[in-house]
Subunit: 338 residues, 4 copies
């Protein structure tokens, strides 16, 4: 950590900071410059919020951290890339894993039909929401356990493992009983009680980036899960909020290689929420392969016009089929396969 | 709701949309323009996400809602302003309510001393976190129930009611047993399971705006709480995330009068998180009075340098005293009093 | 345009709006709903800011435009895609055009060497700044006309046409004398005097998206150029400003297919400014091919460490060579060639 | 400047960086930490973009500047606050200066009437656009020199000096002949050719913050003007672009005290563009006084419904009168007067 003193900082102020730094267990290395004095602090910064609090000490201009605040999720900790198993599939290796299905589980027929459709097109994992975090309390909130049962039936019939969202800590054991992978949605990326809870089960976790979260914050949330003993975390870029209004969100594809520079965890892309515009999903899916994503998660509905939620961004079966054909052509260029 | 057809939409596509609109229980009024045909749909739009899904029907360019999606929180529902009682204080009337105290409850001495300090300066409600939503799993996570007990002791000694954050649904009954007001933090603004739970208890709720939430989304979250029967919701502007990096967040003061145009609920301002910069807290506090806020929530610590969290934005006792003096001068201009 | 009346609007207010609408040359079609009355206005909305001003008329809640405000740049005006010739190259057809070179022209040797390097790797157009819009008045401001002469010499020796930025209207004739394509930088996207001036010369224009501009605003700026008679406009996505700080900007790749839905103009991507991080340029370049971009513009410097500007995001010759190899593998999948 | 080396940086990489640092005229002070080595560089950083370019040297993780990049505009350069004279008025002292008038000069009658209205209400400076930077080429572009003449006539009749926008360098001499203060609009904040040109005339400049500019960038733009010899710069906060859509922009009131911490220049607020919503202008105006602004600039139109531009955010005469009454009540609290 580097502490920058104000131009007119007094000797007493300087000495006070040096003392504090030592008190917190760091070594202090002052550098006297032409316009500023800076103090290099040597020691492990993680969890030392007290050092940051020195920002308010008299004479201090700013405190700049040097180390990244996450450890278990970092590449410095683990050089080789992590591979997360979901059913018989591996996310993060040479396999490119496509998760697809409707936004919500609506009816038995709808989810069974969805599983058939996405399997036929080549997807390896079924997605579908049983617990829905809806912005309106008056909107359909999901079939809950009934939805989980239908997903399990779809898995049995199709052979596809499934990923589904869990929205509150008390539901984690229930959802973990049924699901092959637990999803933490964007709105819950910093729901720490929930992160800790999924960190305690033995199921892989799909962690979505919050709508206005930085990549470092996403990795801090992964760190939460990992700090409880669950290392099977897959990160997901799903678009961030900007002023642009043609799209629902701005899909930050540079996050894929950037997250891989900072972390060993697998990264997939959600072009459905990432753009919110059906016609933009196929090009962004191909681009996700190109930037090195380990997979995709895509909303597909047998009949989007009749969907209870997210109909406007759900692909029709034919469109998903075409998308998978396109993705297949791109995979060999990145030494990937379905 | 208005449906805009694409320039080249066919008669068949047009008819299909008209049929669907009727099927969903709306009346359809087509207007044929020089370059576009639009269809006005008459009926209650709330909860009708299926209508929105028509966006993907062939020939449709866009679907524009006319009504606001919240009802209980809206001014259309209730013209007169709501007043929320916390202890003997009233938020939303002529009283201007200041909530102050440390970010976290750290020790018995610290919280008792904090209560004395903020009371002496004129604050009416004590704040202090017992359950802390920290970005790092390695940071201090709060004293939990022990913290609630210390807050209760501080209340007994000082006579100040207290507000404290609750971060997960299962903790709601426990926190409600001790606290006078439950806080939903910015990161949990869309934690719907938590919103529903606080909607079921008989305690006032302080609902903070999410870091990248629009005002409408904040009101939708208030609607969640109210839809469960708890109408005592106070909204809080606490800064939104922008590209500006001198401040931690950008405090959107226009949100105060804007929220009051849309809703009857009281609105307070959190200049501590809203700016994240200690020196900016006093001017923003005065400005909050000027824009018509019903109160403030401010971080004050007996010794910010030693704070476990948020030290850099906590006011020192003398600074808070001065701030309250300034606020007192402003209140009469808005016909307010402490 | 749709005018939404407030719930309690009076008959007199309604009549006043109807009158005004007719006065501005529109037909008015009122639709009386259960909670609101809306008025559909038929006529050409473009340039009718007076209609928008009705938002402040008593009883009016909002005014929603239906038509896009640009015409010449729109796909509705021209269905087939435009192709812009630069030297013997065509941007917007099956050719994929790569523009590459240093941020600034620094010395004769540097620009001649750069031209050789980028040509050898397969780029078709040389880029290099002679007039530099620098955030600091104390930074290198470019070699100005001397830089243009060096670029012309590099063209002569390498056979590569060149694109260079023009930053003020009075320089347009001078720059147009030398350059094959004029660049309007992100900071000048809404410098309307400059847009009009480049609209009057017979040289193709590379128009970069402003740092916080929507796609519609970018198209409005293209409309400015086109309205003066110059139809040879190439759009460029170069990253928008967000709160993310690992990257310098967030490259919005969905803008490529989205702009192509709205407009017939060619679209290229600038991954150098789009990310600001050297290691992210190659993956974003490949992804640009995948989303359907018509080309790339990339900063390459013979010796980035010694660059006068943007060294940290300039590729080294070997890196650019590798990038071009990768791009070559991707092009056939989109039926493109260099 | 602090250079942070990567964890595994080699001795050779370290030595190379040390050499470069010395070559650029800095002293190097290495600090070897437990996980990282950092190098403190002593010397004047301004204009040294080459040092920043070291970010790409092998083994370097990041380069962090210590000094602010602006000098003339900084408080470190000049402790006492600057006062800028416009006519007989002083911006930046105890006087609170209100600039008001229509968005555009439309007709002789309109501008003369506007001057009367705003003067009667207490404004000291007339505003009005003769050269209009409009997003659409089909919108009214201003009366140009004719508009300047009308403004001069309004000044003669009312005694109010006037501020008007200049949008291109070649117009600066003409506008400076007529106007008492030159305005640089938000879209031109980084139009460096224009900044330099207004830096060369002897007229005060009103510099508006760009729509997505940081405060530091605003100060860098002020530095451009000052570096040419014109020190009479008034900064203006006019709202930044965010995802919030109830308001046109998000008015960042914390920018007023923050800019005053960084700079000695006066700062005023534009609540008209800052919010874009008429009803929000009065509360934000009062709040501007509270945060320490040196003045306001407000759009007022004799008949907003008929305005050629910005009608929806222009105040009606009665509303402006009321606003001025409110502002008058607030001024004494900040030891200000009109």
């Amino acid at each position: 950590m580097i502490i920058v003193m104000k131009p007119g900082a007094t000797k007493a102020q300087f000495n006070h900071v040096i003392e504090k730094v030592k008190e917190y267990g760091f070594q202090a290395h002052p550098i006297v410059g032409t316009e500023r004095t800076v103090i290099g602090c040597i020691g492990d910064e993680r969890g030392k919020s007290q050092l940051q609090a020195l920002e308010v000490a008299a004479g201090v201009e700013s405190v700049m951290p040097i180390l990244k605040p996450f450890k278990l999720a970092s590449r410095e900790m683990k050089k080789e890339r992590s591979v997360v198993k979901v059913g018989k599939h591996s996310v993060g290796g040479s396999q490119f894993v496509v998760m697809a299905g409707p936004c919500s589980v609506e009816t038995r027929e709808q989810i069974l039909r969805s599983a058939e459709i996405v399997k036929a097109a080549g997807a390896q994992i079924l997605r579908g929401g049983a617990f829905k975090p809806r912005t309106s309390p008056y909107s359909f909130q999901g079939l809950e356990e009934e939805g989980l049962k239908l997903l399990a039936e779809a898995r049995e019939k199709s052979g596809l493992p499934f990923v589904t969202e869990v929205i509150t800590p008390t539901d984690v054991p229930l959802v973990a009983t049924y699901a092959d992978m637990l999803q933490i949605g964007a709105r819950n990326m910093q729901n720490y009680a929930l992160l800790k809870e999924v960190g305690r089960v033995k199921k892989p976790v799909l962690l979505k980036r919050g709508m206005s979260s930085t990549m470092k914050e996403l990795l801090m949330s992964a760190e939460y899960i990992m700090s409880q003993g669950n290392y099977d975390v897959v990160l997901c870029e799903r678009g961030i909020r900007t002023f642009e209004d043609y799209t629902r969100n701005t899909c930050d594809l540079s996050a894929v290689p950037a997250l891989k520079e900072m972390s060993h965890l697998p990264v997939i892309v959600d072009p459905s929420h990432g753009t919110g515009v059906r016609s933009l999903i196929p090009p962004i899916s191909k681009a996700a392969v190109a930037v090195g994503a380990d997979g995709l998660i895509i909303e597909v509905h047998p009949n989007p016009e009749a969907a209870y939620s997210d109909g406007a961004q759900s692909l029709m079966p034919k469109q998903f089929e075409k998308l998978m054909e396109d993705v297949r052509k791109y995979l060999p260029l990145e030494d990937r396969h379905l």
